[in-house]
């Protein structure tokens, strides 16, 4: 009997009689939709970029004057000449040389800055220096470009070091791009190094390690994934940097490996050509997109390599 009555009771009260009337929260749904749209914007824009690049790139390769093998292997890039040549190698080479020079400058400076701020500087000095560093990241790149062209090349490279460089040269462009990306590298690397638990440092100090040994043998390896992320971010910026190289490195697509001479990067070509006098729909116009697509692939590959690298070498400390 008792069981029966329990069962009938269980079926009895409605949810409403216990919890009150259910409310429909429309506001929550609106907010969720708005936030989703915000998150989706960057994805949609990325897809849009790929589609627009890919469309024009396909149109470029459909052109009679262009062949895929000639594009990939040709050593001459003269898209606007009456007898146009579309070998992208000079542009890729220019990009790689300038990025390489930039990284040679930025990696030691960036990691050194990060190590100083994280391991050596007093809290006061650190809180004063870090905003200055981040301020440097906010200087417009066009300022860096003219700094390279009007000061660094004539006064430092020619004047101080007595080098035989052209007015427009890859070396100045690369070095100044390197300076430009130091804040990026340093800031990300410093965050990673500061995040290394104090207990690891204490363990090393407790074994009689000096500050340098703690930094080099414990903190840097433990923060390697973050440091690498900083370098990759810096490298991506260097590959994509336009203004400095456009202004300081010249616009001569060359296969010469000598950074003292002028050279043209992929971005500089896009920037210079996109400025104006190329008729829309012409092969030269489409070439902009083909180069852009190649640039896109390059950064994609760079990121993929670095992700693999980080997975492989990072030291998980928790």
């Amino acid at each position: 009997m008792a069981i029966d009555s329990v069962a009938s009771d269980a079926a009895g009260p409605s949810a409403e009689s216990v919890f009150g009337p259910a409310r429909r929260r429309i506001g929550e749904k609106v907010i969720a939709v708005v936030l989703f749209c915000a998150a989706a914007t960057s994805v949609v824009i990325t897809i849009g970029i790929v589609i627009s690049l890919a469309g024009e790139t396909l149109a470029f390769f459909a052109d009679k004057a262009v062949s895929v093998s000639g594009f990939l292997t040709g050593a001459q890039w003269t898209p606007l000449f009456s007898d146009p040549q579309f070998g992208i190698r000079p542009l890729v080479q220019g990009t790689l040389i300038i990025t390489g020079i930039a990284l040679v400058v930025a990696i030691p400076l960036g990691i050194g800055t990060a190590a100083f701020l994280s391991e050596y500087a007093s809290p006061r000095l650190r809180s004063a220096l870090k905003p200055i560093l981040e301020l440097l990241a906010g200087v417009p790149t066009v300022v860096f470009g003219y700094f390279a062209l009007t000061f660094f090349t004539p006064s430092i490279l020619k004047g101080l070091l007595g080098m035989d460089v052209s007015v427009f040269n890859g070396l100045a462009g690369g070095i100044i791009v390197g300076v430009l990306i130091v804040p990026t590298v340093a800031s990300v690397a410093e965050d990673a190094m500061s995040a290394v638990p104090q207990s690891l440092r204490e363990g090393a100090y407790g074994l009689g390690a000096s500050r340098r040994q703690v930094t080099v043998r414990v903190v840097v390896p433990a923060a390697l994934s973050g440091i690498t992320a900083g370098i990759v971010l810096g490298a991506s910026r260097a590959v994509g940097e336009t203004m400095v190289v456009l202004i300081a490195a010249g616009q001569v697509p060359t296969t010469s490996l000598d950074p003292r001479g002028p050279m043209e990067t992929m971005t500089a070509f896009i920037g210079a050509t996109g400025k104006g006098d190329v008729p829309t729909g012409s092969t030269g116009y489409k070439a902009i997109f083909a180069v852009g697509f190649a640039l896109f692939l390059m950064t994609l590959i760079l990121n993929a390599i670095s992700i693999r690298f980080v997975r492989r070498y990072r030291q998980v400390y928790e």
């Binding site: 440092r201 204490e202 363990g203 090393a204 407790g206 074994l207 009689g208 390896p221 998980v316």
Partner: protein, 311 residues
């Protein structure tokens, strides 16, 4: 408490006064007058006068402050050689702060200021010509939470010897250190594995092995078992008994029973509640042979603490 007292080996400290020796299985009666008499900050009989012949450390009026607020005041004691000395007391009593003076670990905290003296084999550790890095090469430390480096087991042990530029076969040094920490049989087949794959107890023994690899004279242990389960704790305590043949050990512990089980001498610290919340100052209350501290404490605060009345 009773069971712990019976664990003590009364013969472990021959200098101990006969009267203070605990009777196993029974908490001895303490003469009432002695307990309730007004007490100096420190029961100095054991601190200065006790016949510790070859002290590793002698502290005199050692005080540490962080910024403007003192953390621990006027600690004077002698740490004997090749014995285990335990620092016990409630949280915030400064026991960890004091142990960190012994290898100048407090140097890493910019706001920390150390006053008074710490002598290590007679040498002033805070003297002008002393290099704190050199100090830490002689005086190893094991921390509260196991803190192996994110490297292989082998590289963890080899870190200290490499930093010190020790000569000889690194394989041998690593094996010997792991054997001393009775970890060799557990890990000899996976020396290249990451140390983070080990259990917490193994990680802590790895940290002990890491500290032993540089052949330190002293091992400082700052609550080494507080993050471990009872079985791992027991293994580390067994290990400490083996190690005291060759190294002097100072252990900070929350756990009175642990102090009673492992140590030869015990120092009891207390938090002195000042006028305000911030003015909490650690002080050394009493120091002496462990068996006496646990069975016949001279200070009522020690007695209350070891009998579980507070803390």
């Amino acid at each position: 408490m009773v069971g712990d007292v019976s664990d003590l080996d009364p013969a472990s400290d021959p200098r101990e006064e006969p009267a203070s020796r605990g009777v196993p299985g029974q908490v001895p009666a303490v003469p009432a007058g002695q307990v309730h008499a007004p007490i100096p900050a420190v029961a100095h009989d054991d601190v200065i006068d006790d016949a510790i012949e070859n002290p590793v450390f002698i502290t005199e009026k050692l005080s540490v402050s962080y910024g403007t607020s003192p953390a621990v005041l006027d600690v004077s004691l002698r740490v004997p050689e090749k014995q285990i000395t335990a620092f016990i007391g409630p949280s915030g009593c400064g026991k960890s702060t004091i142990i960190r003076c012994f290898n100048r670990m407090n140097d890493l905290i910019p706001a920390a200021r150390v006053e008074g003296t710490v002598r290590y084999h007679g040498v002033d550790l805070y003297g002008n010509e002393i290099d704190s890095v050199q100090v830490r090469k002689r005086i190893g430390m094991v921390f509260q939470k196991p803190n192996p480096f994110p490297k292989s087991i082998y590289d963890n042990i080899a870190f200290g010897p490499k930093v010190l530029g020790m000569k000889g076969s690194m394989d041998q040094i690593v094996e010997q250190a792991l054997r001393r920490a009775s970890l060799w049989d557990d890990v000899k087949d996976r020396l290249k594995d990451n140390a983070f794959g080990m259990s917490g107890g193994q990680q802590q023994r790895l940290c002990i092995a890491r500290a032993l690899a540089t052949n330190p004279d002293v091992l400082l242990m700052d609550e080494p078992c507080s993050a471990l389960d009872p079985i791992s704790t027991g293994r580390i305590e067994d290990l400490m008994h083996e190690l005291k043949e060759t190294v002097s050990i100072v252990i900070v512990t929350h756990n009175m029973q642990q102090a009673a089980r492992v140590s030869d001498r015990t120092a009891f610290f207390i938090v002195d509640m000042g006028s305000s919340e911030e003015a909490r100052i650690g002080r050394l209350v009493e120091y002496g042979p462990t068996s006496r501290i646990f069975t016949n404490p001279h200070d009522i605060r020690t007695e209350e603490y070891v009998s579980g009345k507070f803390g």
